[in-house]
Symmetry: C2
Subunit: 639 residues, 2 copies
């Protein structure tokens, strides 16, 4: 078992320099062009300046509807003594009509009184009035469009007008992408076996190519066989300007990319001091750049964006559009290793006049962190991380307009929050982002004024009532409102048909039944502890008490996929995944908001959405909910 | 001859309200959807929220390369007393591999020492370390993507990962476009007769549809025949969601659109209080919006953007992206009629720390004003216009990044300036925009500090020398430099073969020969006056002395197209249009710049471009130039 375990840790700037300096010695940087018909040139980039082939207008023409006359022949016309022009002294013209050489001016139709075949005018005309001269718009041989300019709608119209049929444009760079991995399948089924993974990275990278003006050439999936990968690389290199090998770039057993690059060309680098994306590979084969991107999608995206994007633009002769930067405050402590440039996808919302950024889940495998990303925060090497409240600069990948139209909820997770978000965005253009931090997390976020509202379901074990006592305790100095969203059924989620014959927590304690718990601070965890205490069950006697998930659906999915046997959660989650459910209690799920953070207009939209017919309908469809308190203000705190 | 001459003058806001209120009563606003395969869904917009069909990962998997073990079996391992795991006690796993139920944790490969078939470890493992739980990325039934969201690369990857094959997306609205006009042709030739116009508006509008996410359906050109237009409208209305009738919307003889809308449906409005675009038509036929856009391209673009763009986005259920606004100073007086909303395309450059906007030529037929437009300035009804130096807000249609990378030259026109602009942009990413205002206009712009430099060729009739005396006189309080760009041949541009046997100005005076002059303040006009004075010729004896063009090429084009017979201009223009040329003098064309306005880096790039081999080559190719002084500092002024 020969394994190369450690890979180099080259700093990012050095890697970029190494790669691009080396490429300068190849002919990669030479720009290829091709002719296209002007009508097919939309969004293409001009290779050379384009010159007008014809003037527009190419003849002297009327700029108004009216009559063409010789200015001299109109002398003397006044309101008191109108002048009558004979049939042969004028020509009726519409805008754009040719003005024959014998005429030199145009009188507007509004100023002409037609009498039989003659025309009466009441004012002398000035020469060349209401006449468009040749080339008023474009003169033949004018430089219409300079080099390296994208053809938009106006450029297109101008080219057509100026008689240009064909133009030379930059050839779109071709990016060859080879997905490798024996575990990969093109398309999964709902019953696909463990160990199989649906190949999605090449789809993402191809779509990015499209955005950057390049063509992608996706090779079919290649299994982890060195010779097969070699053949695929050879084949793709014949067609492509840039070669991307997906996955197989860590130091695992089946990682052949680095050694293939070394054998087929020049291996420049294996391993970067960045996170995620460390196992990247850079090389040159046949004078073409080769990039090995890691298998995890977040890493793949980062490496592709850092290294392939500049290549794609360079090959088109243009620089890429700068993304907008936004100064934010970090809402959380964001740890980072001193030794790496750390790239963190963040969500952003403006709360109380400050832009706050919230780091997404940082796992390199979490594609949803890309979907939810409003921008990227880079913590540079040598910096240990950011403290909550630190100032930072985020490079946006969504328009600021959307971020400014965003409200945020931090707290307990419930399916109804997603439905609320969908309705708010669809009906009112208001984006609601939600961060699952558990009910207590929500309360603390409100205390720190970093969320517009929080979803909470906190049982007061002394009174048996929900939420109010917690809010009063933790938010004593604020003006708050507690508004009911739903009541919902909590219970044990179990496998279909209840194969382990579970009926209550007593059946789980002191057995091998695999329980899946929720995180500390979540309302469901508090409920579990309350229920265990009622039944005099010690937490340690539950197998899996320390194994935590962050949402109800995650608990259900764990059971569905036989990673565990049961867990406490809401009915809607069990139903969504077609699992069975043992109801235990109905709890009150409220939202708590701080008046100072929610402007009246936003408050009204929120209330409208919460109490809307569509919300009610969709909630009923999900099942396990009760709307009797929906929209009611449960309690308020005044200063 | 029955003509409807006057059309209504409805204010813009009222027109928009009228149109959209009326549309609310139709089913136009109902959104159509269609299913697409996820792999074909890039850039489409979701009609409904999309839910994950499968968790990812859908099995418990290794998050690292290493060995899967049971945490309990590792207890007691330390550096001092390593533990040896037997073959059956561990499983070698790579990142992403399935972890069978009998194991519950993973030890990184770096921490394992393989000895034969056993594995030696030096640290006990914590349960569930380096393990990805089911649904770590996506949980089945999670709302992956809400309604009305554009599918980008990350959404696509996430959908593929979550086992979604098909999604319901918004159907692209179909915009039917009918170009009408007997004078229109699809494609012109270089010898096309006067009166013919190449139809370009439908190409521009189609390309705009593409940018806005709609499909365009272009009907072939229809001649000015009411029945034929009616049939075309009927046919297009069967397929399209929105109908656009191009041209034929003024009150000219062949303008049938308004009466057809009235006959076939409901005419809401004919005539808007805006400039350009006044003759627009709004109506409803078969519950579908119909817009008659004027024939002039700048008007057509404005009407289409104001009225069709909101429709296209509304039909997709989304709002259109706001364009960025920029506070500018007007560099020129911009007159406007009190009675209209006036939309003016402007160029923008940052000079001396201020953003200055320069109105483009305002003719509704000038497509180049759209091509050159950096943004649109709207002067509202009730405002008479702006004075030079007034503050105004421009709605940008180019990225600020490009505007910040722009330098401007105002002054005399020369073909070499276009070549310089092309080289600066191509080689250095620096955009050079130029405004033709004549040499004296350039000097005055420098005086007002509103241009980075000016191209000038001003003959001092007393000394016979160029430029320096003018600069010294008009810029006494500035630090300036005069740098030679080229010397160039000026002379009489005449028709090929010189059919009128012109040899000098003497042959033109007191004849019918049609002269075409340059505008007041241009160096060429000053040269003409100097030459006429030398020959004792009175300006009034030149037929056409008052007929002005603004560039050398425009003069040449006028002669080429027989709109005039001769004019003074540079050899390169005559040659570009294959005309003959009678050389009269060689003049010095310099650029004058103010040091305070041109940062050192820009100065260096400019000098590098002016003296580059490519500039020399392309100048020589144009002909009629002399580079003996190129790049030399002719004179400087110090404070």
């Amino acid at each position: 078992m020969e394994r190369k375990i450690f890979i180099a840790n080259t700093p990012l700037e050095k890697s970029l320099e190494l790669f691009f300096k080396r490429l300068e010695k190849t002919d990669f940087c030479s720009i290829k062009t091709e002719p296209v018909n002007v009508l097919d040139s939309l969004n293409r980039i001009t290779a050379n300046p384009v010159y007008a082939r014809r003037s527009s207008p190419h003849y002297v023409s009327a700029a108004m509807d009216g009559i063409a006359v010789k200015a001299l022949s109109t002398n003397g016309a006044t309101e008191i003594s109108p002048l009558v022009l004979k049939k042969e002294e004028f020509l009726v013209v519409d805008t754009g009509d040719y003005i024959p050489v014998e005429f030199d001016t145009v009188i507007m139709i509004e100023d002409v009184n037609f009498i039989g075949e003659t025309a009466q005018i009441i004012k002398a005309a000035v020469p060349w009035q209401h006449i468009r001269s040749v080339g008023e718009d474009v003169v033949a041989q004018d430089m219409l469009i300079p080099s390296l300019t994208r053809i938009g709608p106006y450029e297109l119209a101008s080219l057509v007008t100026a008689g240009v049929d064909k133009i030379e444009v930059i050839k779109k760079p071709v990016i060859g992408i080879i997905p490798t991995g024996t575990e990969l399948v093109d398309k999964g089924s709902e019953l696909m076996p463990p160990g199989q993974i649906v190949e999605s990275n090449s789809r993402m990278l191809s779509a990015l190519c499209d955005e950057w003006g390049a063509l992608s050439l996706r090779h079919e999936i290649v299994i982890d066989d060195k010779e097969q990968i070699r053949q695929a690389m050879k084949a793709v290199l014949r067609e492509a300007d840039i070669l991307i090998v997906c996955s197989g770039s860590s130091a695992g057993r089946e990682d052949f990319t680095a050694s293939l690059v070394e054998e087929m060309g020049e291996l420049l680098l294996h391993g970067l001091a960045i996170r995620p994306g460390k196992p990247a590979i850079l090389g040159i084969i046949d004078n073409k750049p080769v990039i090995g991107v890691p298998g995890y999608p977040v890493s793949a995206n980062l490496i592709f964006t850092l290294f392939a994007r500049p290549l794609v633009y360079m090959k088109q002769g243009i620089t890429f559009p700068e993304s907008q930067n936004l100064e934010c405050y970090t809402a959380r402590k964001i740890p980072s290793h001193m030794g790496v440039d750390d790239f963190i996808n963040v969500s952003i919302a403006k709360v109380g006049g400050r832009y706050l950024c919230f780091p997404q889940a940082r796992g390199a495998g979490v594609t949803t962190s890309l979907v939810k990303s409003d921008g990227v925060l880079c913590i540079k090497r040598g910096v240990e991380g950011l403290q909550a409240g630190d100032n930072c600069v985020v490079s946006l990948n969504r328009p600021l307009q959307l971020i400014d139209n965003t409200i945020i909820t931090i707290g307990s997770h419930d399916l109804s929050m997603d439905i609320l978000a969908d309705i708010l965005y669809k009906k009112h253009g208001l984006r609601l982002i939600s961060i699952n931090a558990g009910s207590m997390g929500g309360i603390f976020s409100l205390r720190r004024k970093e969320t517009h509202f929080a979803g909470i379901h906190l049982l007061d074990s002394e009174t048996g009532k929900y939420n109010r006592s917690y809010v009063e305790k933790y938010l004593p100095d604020s003006e708050w409102q507690l508004i009911n969203l739903v009541k919902r059924d909590q219970g044990l989620i179990i496998k279909k048909g209840n194969p382990l014959h579970i009926t209550s927590f007593k059946d789980i304690a002191e057995t091998n039944i695999r329980y899946i718990n929720r995180q500390n601070g979540s309302g469901t965890r508090i409920l579990l502890d309350y229920l265990l205490n009622l039944s005099h069950i010690m937490p340690q006697s539950i197998n899996g008490y320390n194994r935590e998930e962050y949402t109800h659906l995650a608990v259900a999915a764990s059971i569905k996929n036989d990673a565990s046997d049961t867990g406490l959660g809401i009915y809607a989650s069990a139903r969504a995944l077609d699992l069975d459910f043992i109801p235990i209690t109905q709890e009150q799920y409220d939202i708590c908001l701080l008046s100072e953070l929610v402007p009246p207009k936003t408050y009204d939209l929120l209330m409208a959405a919460i109490t809307s017919a569509e919300f009610h309908e969709r909630i009923k469809e999900a099942g396990g909910y009760n709307l009797e308190l929906n929209g009611q203000i449960i309690a308020s705190g005044y200063l």
